[in-house]
Protein backbone atom coordinates (compact mmCIF):
# COMPACT_ATOMS: atom_id res chain seq x y z
CA UNK A 1 0.00 0.00 0.00
CA UNK A 2 1.14 3.51 -0.74
CA UNK A 3 0.65 4.87 2.74
CA UNK A 4 3.23 4.70 5.49
CA UNK A 5 1.94 2.41 8.20
CA UNK A 6 1.41 3.79 11.65
CA UNK A 7 2.17 1.33 14.47
CA UNK A 8 -1.44 1.66 15.58
CA UNK A 9 -2.79 0.54 12.22
CA UNK A 10 -0.79 -2.69 12.32
CA UNK A 11 -1.79 -3.41 15.90
CA UNK A 12 -5.51 -2.74 15.57
CA UNK A 13 -6.33 -5.68 13.26
CA UNK A 14 -4.58 -8.08 15.62
CA UNK A 15 -6.46 -6.68 18.61
CA UNK A 16 -9.84 -6.99 16.89
CA UNK A 17 -9.11 -10.47 15.52
CA UNK A 18 -7.93 -11.72 18.91
CA UNK A 19 -11.09 -10.34 20.45
CA UNK A 20 -13.09 -12.16 17.75
CA UNK A 21 -11.28 -15.43 18.41
CA UNK A 22 -11.92 -15.09 22.15
CA UNK A 23 -15.63 -14.42 21.64
CA UNK A 24 -15.88 -17.39 19.31
CA UNK A 25 -13.97 -19.73 21.62
CA UNK A 26 -15.29 -18.61 25.00
CA UNK A 27 -18.56 -20.61 25.14
CA UNK A 28 -16.72 -23.78 24.17
CA UNK A 29 -13.97 -23.14 26.72
CA UNK A 30 -16.58 -22.66 29.46
CA UNK A 31 -18.21 -25.94 28.42
CA UNK A 32 -14.85 -27.68 28.63
CA UNK A 33 -14.19 -26.24 32.09
CA UNK A 34 -17.70 -27.26 33.10
CA UNK A 35 -16.98 -30.82 32.01
CA UNK A 36 -14.04 -31.00 34.44
CA UNK A 37 -15.80 -30.09 37.69
CA UNK A 38 -18.26 -31.86 39.96
CA UNK A 39 -22.01 -31.23 40.12
CA UNK A 40 -21.77 -29.40 43.45
CA UNK A 41 -19.22 -26.82 42.35
CA UNK A 42 -21.28 -26.04 39.26
CA UNK A 43 -24.64 -26.00 41.03
CA UNK A 44 -23.63 -23.46 43.66
CA UNK A 45 -22.12 -21.25 40.98
CA UNK A 46 -18.55 -21.29 42.24
CA UNK A 47 -16.99 -22.86 39.16
CA UNK A 48 -13.66 -21.13 38.44
CA UNK A 49 -12.29 -20.23 35.02
CA UNK A 50 -9.77 -23.07 35.03
CA UNK A 51 -10.27 -26.82 34.53
CA UNK A 52 -10.91 -28.89 37.65
CA UNK A 53 -9.97 -32.37 38.85
CA UNK A 54 -13.03 -34.32 37.67
CA UNK A 55 -12.20 -34.45 33.99
CA UNK A 56 -11.42 -38.15 33.72
CA UNK A 57 -14.26 -39.17 36.00
CA UNK A 58 -16.90 -37.18 34.08
CA UNK A 59 -15.81 -38.37 30.66
CA UNK A 60 -15.52 -42.00 31.68
CA UNK A 61 -18.98 -41.76 33.23
CA UNK A 62 -20.67 -40.42 30.11
CA UNK A 63 -18.83 -42.80 27.81
CA UNK A 64 -19.30 -45.92 29.88
CA UNK A 65 -22.51 -45.63 31.83
CA UNK A 66 -24.59 -42.61 30.85
CA UNK A 67 -26.36 -40.66 33.57
CA UNK A 68 -29.61 -40.54 35.47
CA UNK A 69 -31.65 -38.58 32.93
CA UNK A 70 -30.38 -40.12 29.71
CA UNK A 71 -29.71 -43.73 30.47
CA UNK A 72 -27.92 -44.50 27.25
CA UNK A 73 -24.17 -44.02 27.49
CA UNK A 74 -22.66 -41.67 24.96
CA UNK A 75 -20.88 -44.35 22.93
CA UNK A 76 -23.96 -45.68 21.11
CA UNK A 77 -25.25 -42.14 20.57
CA UNK A 78 -21.96 -41.14 18.93
CA UNK A 79 -22.24 -44.24 16.78
CA UNK A 80 -25.81 -43.34 15.72
CA UNK A 81 -24.76 -39.81 14.82
CA UNK A 82 -21.85 -41.17 12.85
CA UNK A 83 -23.98 -43.65 10.88
CA UNK A 84 -26.60 -41.01 10.18
CA UNK A 85 -24.04 -38.44 9.03
CA UNK A 86 -22.27 -41.02 6.83
CA UNK A 87 -25.47 -42.23 5.15
CA UNK A 88 -26.56 -38.64 4.49
CA UNK A 89 -23.17 -37.54 3.14
CA UNK A 90 -22.43 -40.63 1.02
CA UNK A 91 -26.05 -41.07 -0.04
CA UNK A 92 -26.34 -37.49 -1.23
CA UNK A 93 -23.09 -37.73 -3.15
CA UNK A 94 -23.98 -41.07 -4.72
CA UNK A 95 -27.43 -40.16 -5.98
CA UNK A 96 -26.43 -36.65 -7.06
CA UNK A 97 -23.33 -37.53 -9.01
CA UNK A 98 -25.19 -40.02 -11.21
CA UNK A 99 -28.22 -37.80 -11.69
CA UNK A 100 -26.00 -34.86 -12.65
CA UNK A 101 -24.16 -37.16 -15.06
CA UNK A 102 -27.45 -38.10 -16.68
CA UNK A 103 -28.57 -34.49 -17.03
CA UNK A 104 -25.27 -33.31 -18.50
CA UNK A 105 -24.19 -36.17 -20.77
CA UNK A 106 -27.47 -37.46 -22.17
CA UNK A 107 -30.35 -35.98 -24.16
CA UNK A 108 -33.66 -37.64 -23.47
CA UNK A 109 -37.33 -36.75 -23.27
CA UNK A 110 -38.31 -34.96 -20.03
CA UNK A 111 -34.70 -34.04 -19.26
CA UNK A 112 -35.62 -30.45 -18.42
CA UNK A 113 -38.57 -31.59 -16.31
CA UNK A 114 -36.37 -33.93 -14.29
CA UNK A 115 -33.86 -31.18 -13.74
CA UNK A 116 -36.51 -28.75 -12.52
CA UNK A 117 -38.11 -31.35 -10.26
CA UNK A 118 -34.76 -31.66 -8.52
CA UNK A 119 -33.88 -27.98 -8.67
CA UNK A 120 -37.02 -26.81 -6.84
CA UNK A 121 -36.13 -28.88 -3.77
CA UNK A 122 -33.25 -26.46 -3.25
CA UNK A 123 -35.63 -24.03 -1.67
CA UNK A 124 -37.54 -26.05 0.87
CA UNK A 125 -35.87 -27.39 4.00
CA UNK A 126 -37.40 -30.40 5.75
CA UNK A 127 -38.62 -28.15 8.57
CA UNK A 128 -41.50 -26.74 6.53
CA UNK A 129 -42.97 -30.12 5.66
CA UNK A 130 -42.08 -31.84 8.87
CA UNK A 131 -45.32 -33.61 9.86
CA UNK A 132 -46.34 -34.95 6.43
CA UNK A 133 -42.80 -36.27 6.00
CA UNK A 134 -42.98 -37.83 9.44
CA UNK A 135 -46.22 -39.53 8.51
CA UNK A 136 -44.75 -41.01 5.33
CA UNK A 137 -41.71 -42.31 7.19
CA UNK A 138 -44.03 -43.80 9.79
CA UNK A 139 -46.21 -45.42 7.10
CA UNK A 140 -43.13 -46.93 5.51
CA UNK A 141 -42.19 -48.42 8.87
CA UNK A 142 -38.97 -46.47 9.03
CA UNK A 143 -39.37 -44.90 12.48
CA UNK A 144 -36.38 -45.69 14.70
CA UNK A 145 -34.27 -46.88 11.80
CA UNK A 146 -31.15 -45.43 10.24
CA UNK A 147 -33.01 -45.28 6.93
CA UNK A 148 -35.74 -43.11 8.44
CA UNK A 149 -33.15 -40.86 10.06
CA UNK A 150 -31.11 -40.33 6.93
CA UNK A 151 -32.96 -40.96 3.66
CA UNK A 152 -35.49 -38.07 3.80
CA UNK A 153 -32.57 -35.67 4.32
CA UNK A 154 -30.80 -37.02 1.24
CA UNK A 155 -33.41 -35.45 -1.04
CA UNK A 156 -31.77 -32.14 -1.86
CA UNK A 157 -30.67 -30.36 -4.98
CA UNK A 158 -27.47 -28.73 -3.75
CA UNK A 159 -25.15 -31.58 -4.61
CA UNK A 160 -26.72 -32.25 -8.00
CA UNK A 161 -26.31 -28.61 -9.01
CA UNK A 162 -22.73 -28.59 -7.83
CA UNK A 163 -21.81 -31.72 -9.83
CA UNK A 164 -23.66 -30.41 -12.87
CA UNK A 165 -21.69 -27.20 -12.66
CA UNK A 166 -18.45 -29.14 -12.38
CA UNK A 167 -19.24 -31.53 -15.25
CA UNK A 168 -19.84 -28.52 -17.50
CA UNK A 169 -16.19 -27.57 -17.08
CA UNK A 170 -14.91 -30.98 -18.22
CA UNK A 171 -13.68 -30.48 -21.81
CA UNK A 172 -15.72 -32.17 -24.55
CA UNK A 173 -12.51 -33.53 -26.05
CA UNK A 174 -12.31 -36.02 -23.20
CA UNK A 175 -15.67 -37.52 -24.10
CA UNK A 176 -14.71 -37.67 -27.75
CA UNK A 177 -11.38 -39.32 -26.97
CA UNK A 178 -13.14 -41.84 -24.77
CA UNK A 179 -15.65 -42.56 -27.53
CA UNK A 180 -12.88 -43.08 -30.09
CA UNK A 181 -11.37 -45.63 -27.72
CA UNK A 182 -14.69 -47.42 -27.95
CA UNK A 183 -15.66 -46.77 -24.33
CA UNK A 184 -19.30 -46.42 -23.34
CA UNK A 185 -20.87 -43.94 -20.91
CA UNK A 186 -20.28 -46.13 -17.88
CA UNK A 187 -16.59 -46.54 -18.62
CA UNK A 188 -16.21 -42.81 -19.25
CA UNK A 189 -17.89 -42.11 -15.92
CA UNK A 190 -15.73 -44.57 -14.01
CA UNK A 191 -12.38 -43.82 -15.66
CA UNK A 192 -12.61 -40.09 -16.37
CA UNK A 193 -15.46 -38.26 -14.64
CA UNK A 194 -15.15 -39.88 -11.24
CA UNK A 195 -11.37 -39.37 -10.86
CA UNK A 196 -11.73 -35.74 -11.97
CA UNK A 197 -14.50 -35.18 -9.43
CA UNK A 198 -12.59 -36.40 -6.40
CA UNK A 199 -11.95 -32.95 -4.91
CA UNK A 200 -15.54 -31.89 -5.41
CA UNK A 201 -16.72 -35.13 -3.84
CA UNK A 202 -14.43 -34.65 -0.84
CA UNK A 203 -15.44 -31.01 -0.35
CA UNK A 204 -19.10 -31.97 -0.52
CA UNK A 205 -18.53 -34.83 1.88
CA UNK A 206 -17.10 -32.51 4.53
CA UNK A 207 -20.08 -30.16 4.34
CA UNK A 208 -22.70 -32.90 4.25
CA UNK A 209 -21.12 -34.85 7.08
CA UNK A 210 -21.35 -31.78 9.32
CA UNK A 211 -24.89 -31.13 8.11
CA UNK A 212 -25.91 -34.69 8.94
CA UNK A 213 -24.14 -34.81 12.29
CA UNK A 214 -25.79 -31.59 13.47
CA UNK A 215 -29.39 -32.49 12.59
CA UNK A 216 -31.81 -31.86 15.42
CA UNK A 217 -35.52 -31.49 14.63
CA UNK A 218 -35.73 -34.51 12.34
CA UNK A 219 -34.05 -37.07 14.65
CA UNK A 220 -36.07 -35.61 17.53
CA UNK A 221 -39.29 -36.65 15.78
CA UNK A 222 -38.12 -39.86 14.17
CA UNK A 223 -36.45 -41.56 17.12
CA UNK A 224 -38.50 -42.80 20.01
CA UNK A 225 -36.25 -45.59 21.23
CA UNK A 226 -33.33 -44.46 23.37
CA UNK A 227 -30.88 -46.71 21.60
CA UNK A 228 -31.56 -44.91 18.31
CA UNK A 229 -30.90 -41.43 19.68
CA UNK A 230 -28.21 -39.23 18.19
CA UNK A 231 -25.76 -37.39 20.39
CA UNK A 232 -27.21 -33.93 19.72
CA UNK A 233 -30.62 -35.13 20.92
CA UNK A 234 -28.99 -36.89 23.86
CA UNK A 235 -27.52 -33.65 25.22
CA UNK A 236 -30.84 -31.87 25.03
CA UNK A 237 -32.45 -34.69 27.00
CA UNK A 238 -29.86 -34.29 29.75
CA UNK A 239 -31.15 -30.81 30.50
CA UNK A 240 -33.93 -31.24 33.01
CA UNK A 241 -36.59 -28.57 33.25
CA UNK A 242 -35.98 -28.16 36.96
CA UNK A 243 -32.44 -26.96 36.65
CA UNK A 244 -31.37 -28.32 40.01
CA UNK A 245 -31.58 -31.84 38.62
CA UNK A 246 -29.48 -31.21 35.55
CA UNK A 247 -26.11 -32.85 35.81
CA UNK A 248 -24.33 -30.05 34.01
CA UNK A 249 -20.87 -31.57 34.24
CA UNK A 250 -22.08 -34.64 32.31
CA UNK A 251 -24.09 -32.56 29.84
CA UNK A 252 -21.01 -30.46 29.14
CA UNK A 253 -18.77 -33.52 28.75
CA UNK A 254 -21.29 -34.91 26.27
CA UNK A 255 -21.44 -31.55 24.46
CA UNK A 256 -17.66 -31.53 24.10
CA UNK A 257 -17.70 -35.09 22.74
CA UNK A 258 -20.51 -34.19 20.32
CA UNK A 259 -18.65 -31.16 18.99
CA UNK A 260 -15.36 -32.95 18.58
CA UNK A 261 -15.90 -35.01 15.40
CA UNK A 262 -17.30 -32.22 13.16
CA UNK A 263 -14.86 -29.63 14.52
CA UNK A 264 -11.94 -31.97 13.87
CA UNK A 265 -13.26 -32.55 10.34
CA UNK A 266 -13.34 -28.78 9.73
CA UNK A 267 -9.87 -28.20 11.13
CA UNK A 268 -8.15 -31.17 9.48
CA UNK A 269 -9.81 -30.70 6.11
CA UNK A 270 -9.96 -26.94 6.20
CA UNK A 271 -9.22 -26.39 2.52
CA UNK A 272 -11.88 -28.84 1.41
CA UNK A 273 -14.32 -27.42 3.94
CA UNK A 274 -13.91 -23.85 2.71
CA UNK A 275 -14.16 -24.97 -0.88
CA UNK A 276 -17.24 -27.08 -0.22
CA UNK A 277 -18.97 -24.30 1.66
CA UNK A 278 -18.30 -21.65 -0.94
CA UNK A 279 -19.25 -23.94 -3.83
CA UNK A 280 -22.43 -25.46 -2.44
CA UNK A 281 -23.86 -22.04 -1.68
CA UNK A 282 -23.20 -20.50 -5.05
Amino acid sequence: MVERKHWFSTLLPHAILILGVLIVAFPVYVAFVGSSWDAGTIANGTMPMTPGPYLVENYSRVILSGNATAREPVGPMLFNSFVMAMIIALGKIAISIISAYAVVYFRFPLRKTAFWLIFITLMLPVEVRIYPTYKIVADLGLLDTYGGLAIPLIASATATLLFRQFFMTIPDELVEASKIDGAGPWKFFKDTVLPLSITTVAALFVIQFIYGWNQYLWPLLITTREDMQTIVIGIKKMLVTQDALTEWQLAMATAVLAMLPPVVVVLVMQKLFVRGLVETEK
Partner: protein
Amino acid sequence: MEKRSLYNNKLLPYLLLAPQLVITLVFFYWPASQAVWMSFRMEDAFGTTTEFVGLENYVSLFQQRAYYESMATTVIFSIAVTFLAMSFSLLLAVMADKQIRGGSVYRTLLIWPYAVAPAIAGVLWLFMFQPSLGMIGRGLISIGVPWNPMLNGDHALLLVILAAAWKQISYNFLFFLAGLQSIPKSLIEAAAIDGARPTRRFWTIVFPMLSPTTFFLLVVNIVYVFFDTFGIIDAITHGGPAKATETLVFKVYQDGRLGGDLGGSAAQSVVLMVIVIALTAIQFRYVERKVTY
Protein backbone atom coordinates in the same frame (compact mmCIF):
# COMPACT_ATOMS: atom_id res chain seq x y z
CA MET B 1 -24.27 -24.04 -21.77
CA GLU B 2 -24.71 -27.48 -23.28
CA LYS B 3 -22.35 -30.30 -24.06
CA ARG B 4 -21.65 -30.96 -27.73
CA SER B 5 -20.58 -34.55 -27.38
CA LEU B 6 -23.22 -36.77 -25.86
CA TYR B 7 -24.27 -40.35 -25.33
CA ASN B 8 -27.50 -41.53 -26.82
CA ASN B 9 -28.54 -44.46 -24.66
CA LYS B 10 -32.30 -44.66 -24.24
CA LEU B 11 -32.73 -46.27 -20.85
CA LEU B 12 -29.53 -45.44 -18.97
CA PRO B 13 -30.22 -41.75 -18.19
CA TYR B 14 -33.52 -42.67 -16.55
CA LEU B 15 -31.83 -45.31 -14.44
CA LEU B 16 -29.20 -42.79 -13.36
CA LEU B 17 -31.86 -40.27 -12.39
CA ALA B 18 -34.16 -42.78 -10.73
CA PRO B 19 -32.67 -42.89 -7.20
CA GLN B 20 -32.74 -39.13 -6.72
CA LEU B 21 -36.14 -38.70 -8.35
CA VAL B 22 -37.70 -41.49 -6.27
CA ILE B 23 -36.36 -40.06 -3.00
CA THR B 24 -37.38 -36.54 -4.02
CA LEU B 25 -40.89 -37.64 -4.96
CA VAL B 26 -41.46 -39.78 -1.87
CA PHE B 27 -39.90 -37.52 0.75
CA PHE B 28 -40.34 -34.12 -0.84
CA TYR B 29 -43.19 -33.73 -3.30
CA TRP B 30 -45.52 -36.17 -1.61
CA PRO B 31 -45.25 -34.59 1.88
CA ALA B 32 -45.24 -31.06 0.46
CA SER B 33 -48.45 -31.74 -1.45
CA GLN B 34 -49.86 -33.46 1.64
CA ALA B 35 -49.20 -30.26 3.57
CA VAL B 36 -51.06 -28.23 0.97
CA TRP B 37 -53.91 -30.78 0.87
CA MET B 38 -54.17 -30.98 4.68
CA SER B 39 -54.23 -27.21 4.96
CA PHE B 40 -57.63 -27.21 3.23
CA ARG B 41 -59.06 -29.93 5.45
CA MET B 42 -60.09 -30.31 9.05
CA GLU B 43 -60.28 -33.36 11.30
CA ASP B 44 -63.57 -34.17 12.98
CA ALA B 45 -63.89 -34.30 16.76
CA PHE B 46 -62.61 -37.88 16.95
CA GLY B 47 -59.76 -37.38 14.53
CA THR B 48 -60.98 -40.28 12.39
CA THR B 49 -62.01 -38.50 9.20
CA THR B 50 -61.22 -35.19 7.59
CA GLU B 51 -63.41 -32.93 5.54
CA PHE B 52 -62.78 -30.18 3.05
CA VAL B 53 -63.09 -26.78 4.68
CA GLY B 54 -61.70 -24.48 2.02
CA LEU B 55 -59.68 -21.62 3.41
CA GLU B 56 -60.99 -22.01 6.95
CA ASN B 57 -57.63 -23.08 8.37
CA TYR B 58 -55.97 -20.04 6.84
CA VAL B 59 -58.70 -17.71 8.03
CA SER B 60 -58.48 -18.93 11.60
CA LEU B 61 -54.68 -18.82 11.40
CA PHE B 62 -54.70 -15.17 10.44
CA GLN B 63 -57.24 -14.40 13.14
CA GLN B 64 -54.95 -15.76 15.83
CA ARG B 65 -53.21 -13.12 17.87
CA ALA B 66 -50.56 -15.72 18.72
CA TYR B 67 -49.68 -16.14 15.05
CA TYR B 68 -48.93 -12.45 14.62
CA GLU B 69 -46.93 -12.48 17.83
CA SER B 70 -44.93 -15.42 16.56
CA MET B 71 -44.40 -13.61 13.29
CA ALA B 72 -43.23 -10.49 15.12
CA THR B 73 -40.83 -12.60 17.21
CA THR B 74 -39.45 -14.18 14.05
CA VAL B 75 -38.96 -10.79 12.40
CA ILE B 76 -37.21 -9.25 15.42
CA PHE B 77 -35.12 -12.40 15.80
CA SER B 78 -34.13 -12.37 12.10
CA ILE B 79 -33.19 -8.70 12.04
CA ALA B 80 -31.20 -8.87 15.26
CA VAL B 81 -29.28 -12.05 14.41
CA THR B 82 -28.61 -11.00 10.83
CA PHE B 83 -27.40 -7.55 11.82
CA LEU B 84 -25.25 -8.75 14.73
CA ALA B 85 -23.68 -11.71 12.95
CA MET B 86 -23.08 -9.86 9.69
CA SER B 87 -21.63 -6.65 11.09
CA PHE B 88 -19.29 -8.44 13.48
CA SER B 89 -18.17 -10.88 10.77
CA LEU B 90 -17.58 -8.06 8.31
CA LEU B 91 -15.40 -6.27 10.84
CA LEU B 92 -13.38 -9.44 11.41
CA ALA B 93 -13.11 -10.16 7.69
CA VAL B 94 -11.90 -6.63 6.92
CA MET B 95 -9.23 -7.03 9.59
CA ALA B 96 -8.19 -10.48 8.37
CA ASP B 97 -8.01 -9.20 4.79
CA LYS B 98 -5.25 -6.74 5.69
CA GLN B 99 -1.78 -8.09 4.99
CA ILE B 100 -0.97 -8.99 8.56
CA ARG B 101 1.14 -11.72 10.05
CA GLY B 102 -0.73 -14.86 11.04
CA GLY B 103 -3.74 -14.15 8.84
CA SER B 104 -4.40 -17.81 8.09
CA VAL B 105 -4.13 -18.73 11.78
CA TYR B 106 -6.87 -16.24 12.60
CA ARG B 107 -8.97 -17.67 9.80
CA THR B 108 -8.62 -21.20 11.19
CA LEU B 109 -9.49 -20.02 14.69
CA LEU B 110 -12.59 -18.21 13.45
CA ILE B 111 -14.20 -20.79 11.18
CA TRP B 112 -14.58 -23.88 13.36
CA PRO B 113 -17.82 -22.88 15.17
CA TYR B 114 -19.54 -23.63 11.88
CA ALA B 115 -19.23 -27.27 12.90
CA VAL B 116 -21.07 -26.80 16.21
CA ALA B 117 -24.67 -28.00 16.04
CA PRO B 118 -27.26 -25.27 16.69
CA ALA B 119 -28.75 -27.28 19.55
CA ILE B 120 -25.32 -27.59 21.16
CA ALA B 121 -24.66 -23.88 20.68
CA GLY B 122 -27.90 -23.33 22.60
CA VAL B 123 -26.78 -25.60 25.43
CA LEU B 124 -23.40 -23.83 25.68
CA TRP B 125 -24.99 -20.37 25.89
CA LEU B 126 -27.55 -21.57 28.40
CA PHE B 127 -24.73 -22.89 30.57
CA MET B 128 -23.04 -19.47 30.59
CA PHE B 129 -26.17 -17.39 31.08
CA GLN B 130 -28.14 -19.62 33.44
CA PRO B 131 -29.09 -17.18 36.24
CA SER B 132 -28.27 -19.34 39.26
CA LEU B 133 -25.13 -21.15 38.13
CA GLY B 134 -24.01 -19.67 34.82
CA MET B 135 -20.74 -17.78 34.89
CA ILE B 136 -22.08 -14.72 33.07
CA GLY B 137 -25.63 -15.04 34.39
CA ARG B 138 -24.40 -14.82 37.99
CA GLY B 139 -22.04 -12.03 37.05
CA LEU B 140 -24.93 -9.99 35.67
CA ILE B 141 -26.95 -10.52 38.82
CA SER B 142 -24.02 -9.59 41.03
CA ILE B 143 -23.71 -6.22 39.30
CA GLY B 144 -27.41 -5.60 39.84
CA VAL B 145 -28.99 -6.70 36.55
CA PRO B 146 -32.19 -8.65 37.33
CA TRP B 147 -31.19 -11.24 34.72
CA ASN B 148 -33.55 -14.18 34.30
CA PRO B 149 -34.12 -15.70 30.85
CA MET B 150 -36.28 -18.41 32.45
CA LEU B 151 -38.95 -15.91 33.44
CA ASN B 152 -38.30 -12.75 31.45
CA GLY B 153 -39.28 -13.05 27.79
CA ASP B 154 -37.00 -10.23 26.64
CA HIS B 155 -34.01 -11.82 28.34
CA ALA B 156 -34.86 -15.16 26.79
CA LEU B 157 -35.09 -13.63 23.32
CA LEU B 158 -31.81 -11.78 23.82
CA LEU B 159 -30.05 -14.98 24.86
CA VAL B 160 -31.41 -16.89 21.87
CA ILE B 161 -30.33 -14.05 19.57
CA LEU B 162 -26.78 -14.05 20.98
CA ALA B 163 -26.42 -17.82 20.63
CA ALA B 164 -27.81 -17.80 17.08
CA ALA B 165 -25.57 -14.90 16.02
CA TRP B 166 -22.50 -16.55 17.59
CA LYS B 167 -23.10 -19.70 15.60
CA GLN B 168 -23.34 -17.76 12.33
CA ILE B 169 -20.14 -15.67 12.70
CA SER B 170 -17.83 -18.17 11.03
CA TYR B 171 -20.06 -18.65 8.00
CA ASN B 172 -20.43 -14.94 7.33
CA PHE B 173 -16.75 -14.35 8.03
CA LEU B 174 -15.70 -16.88 5.37
CA PHE B 175 -17.92 -15.41 2.71
CA PHE B 176 -17.02 -11.80 3.50
CA LEU B 177 -13.34 -12.70 3.43
CA ALA B 178 -13.72 -14.41 0.05
CA GLY B 179 -15.64 -11.35 -1.20
CA LEU B 180 -12.97 -8.95 0.05
CA GLN B 181 -10.16 -10.96 -1.50
CA SER B 182 -11.83 -10.80 -4.89
CA ILE B 183 -11.78 -6.97 -4.93
CA PRO B 184 -8.83 -5.82 -7.06
CA LYS B 185 -6.20 -4.22 -4.83
CA SER B 186 -5.27 -1.78 -7.60
CA LEU B 187 -8.62 -0.04 -7.18
CA ILE B 188 -8.07 0.58 -3.51
CA GLU B 189 -4.50 1.71 -4.11
CA ALA B 190 -5.70 4.17 -6.74
CA ALA B 191 -8.09 5.66 -4.20
CA ALA B 192 -5.30 5.82 -1.66
CA ILE B 193 -3.12 7.72 -4.11
CA ASP B 194 -6.00 10.14 -4.61
CA GLY B 195 -5.81 10.75 -0.90
CA ALA B 196 -8.86 8.81 0.34
CA ARG B 197 -8.42 7.71 3.94
CA PRO B 198 -9.07 4.05 4.91
CA THR B 199 -12.57 4.70 6.30
CA ARG B 200 -13.60 6.58 3.20
CA ARG B 201 -12.06 3.91 0.96
CA PHE B 202 -14.10 1.30 2.79
CA TRP B 203 -17.46 3.02 2.41
CA THR B 204 -17.00 4.30 -1.14
CA ILE B 205 -15.20 1.35 -2.75
CA VAL B 206 -15.01 -1.80 -0.66
CA PHE B 207 -18.51 -1.84 0.76
CA PRO B 208 -20.30 -1.19 -2.56
CA MET B 209 -18.17 -3.84 -4.26
CA LEU B 210 -19.06 -6.30 -1.55
CA SER B 211 -22.78 -5.81 -2.15
CA PRO B 212 -23.37 -9.13 -3.95
CA THR B 213 -21.80 -10.99 -1.01
CA THR B 214 -23.71 -8.87 1.50
CA PHE B 215 -26.99 -9.45 -0.24
CA PHE B 216 -26.39 -13.17 -0.57
CA LEU B 217 -25.52 -13.40 3.13
CA LEU B 218 -28.57 -11.35 4.05
CA VAL B 219 -30.88 -13.94 2.50
CA VAL B 220 -28.88 -16.91 3.81
CA ASN B 221 -28.92 -15.47 7.34
CA ILE B 222 -32.65 -14.88 7.26
CA VAL B 223 -33.27 -18.43 6.04
CA TYR B 224 -30.90 -19.66 8.77
CA VAL B 225 -32.83 -17.80 11.46
CA PHE B 226 -36.15 -19.09 10.15
CA PHE B 227 -35.21 -22.77 10.04
CA ASP B 228 -31.87 -23.70 11.56
CA THR B 229 -32.39 -21.96 14.88
CA PHE B 230 -35.00 -24.50 15.95
CA GLY B 231 -32.38 -26.44 17.92
CA ILE B 232 -31.10 -23.32 19.67
CA ILE B 233 -34.59 -22.30 20.75
CA ASP B 234 -35.59 -25.78 21.84
CA ALA B 235 -32.41 -26.15 23.90
CA ILE B 236 -32.46 -22.75 25.61
CA THR B 237 -36.09 -21.72 26.08
CA HIS B 238 -38.35 -24.30 24.51
CA GLY B 239 -40.23 -21.41 22.94
CA GLY B 240 -40.96 -19.84 26.30
CA PRO B 241 -41.31 -18.14 28.66
CA ALA B 242 -44.94 -17.50 27.68
CA LYS B 243 -44.11 -18.06 23.97
CA ALA B 244 -41.67 -15.12 23.95
CA THR B 245 -39.23 -17.05 21.75
CA GLU B 246 -41.72 -18.97 19.65
CA THR B 247 -40.71 -18.49 16.03
CA LEU B 248 -42.88 -19.57 13.09
CA VAL B 249 -41.07 -22.90 12.67
CA PHE B 250 -41.24 -23.57 16.38
CA LYS B 251 -44.98 -22.88 16.31
CA VAL B 252 -45.50 -25.35 13.45
CA TYR B 253 -43.75 -27.95 15.56
CA GLN B 254 -45.64 -27.13 18.77
CA ASP B 255 -49.09 -26.87 17.20
CA GLY B 256 -48.69 -30.08 15.23
CA ARG B 257 -47.25 -32.08 18.11
CA LEU B 258 -49.11 -30.94 21.19
CA GLY B 259 -52.20 -29.34 19.71
CA GLY B 260 -52.77 -32.13 17.24
CA ASP B 261 -54.25 -29.46 14.97
CA LEU B 262 -52.84 -30.94 11.77
CA GLY B 263 -54.86 -28.74 9.42
CA GLY B 264 -53.75 -25.57 11.18
CA SER B 265 -50.18 -26.79 11.36
CA ALA B 266 -50.26 -27.63 7.65
CA ALA B 267 -51.59 -24.16 6.83
CA GLN B 268 -48.64 -22.72 8.76
CA SER B 269 -46.27 -24.95 6.81
CA VAL B 270 -47.71 -23.70 3.55
CA VAL B 271 -47.27 -20.06 4.63
CA LEU B 272 -43.64 -20.86 5.50
CA MET B 273 -43.07 -22.50 2.12
CA VAL B 274 -44.37 -19.39 0.41
CA ILE B 275 -42.00 -17.24 2.48
CA VAL B 276 -38.94 -19.37 1.62
CA ILE B 277 -39.82 -19.53 -2.05
CA ALA B 278 -40.21 -15.76 -2.08
CA LEU B 279 -36.87 -15.28 -0.34
CA THR B 280 -35.09 -17.62 -2.74
CA ALA B 281 -36.70 -15.98 -5.74
CA ILE B 282 -35.63 -12.54 -4.51
CA GLN B 283 -32.12 -13.86 -4.02
CA PHE B 284 -31.87 -15.28 -7.53
CA ARG B 285 -33.28 -12.12 -9.10
CA TYR B 286 -31.18 -9.64 -7.24
CA VAL B 287 -27.92 -11.48 -6.97
CA GLU B 288 -27.99 -11.91 -10.73
CA ARG B 289 -29.03 -8.40 -11.73
CA LYS B 290 -29.54 -5.52 -9.39
CA VAL B 291 -26.67 -5.74 -6.95
CA THR B 292 -23.73 -5.08 -9.19
CA TYR B 293 -21.02 -2.53 -9.26
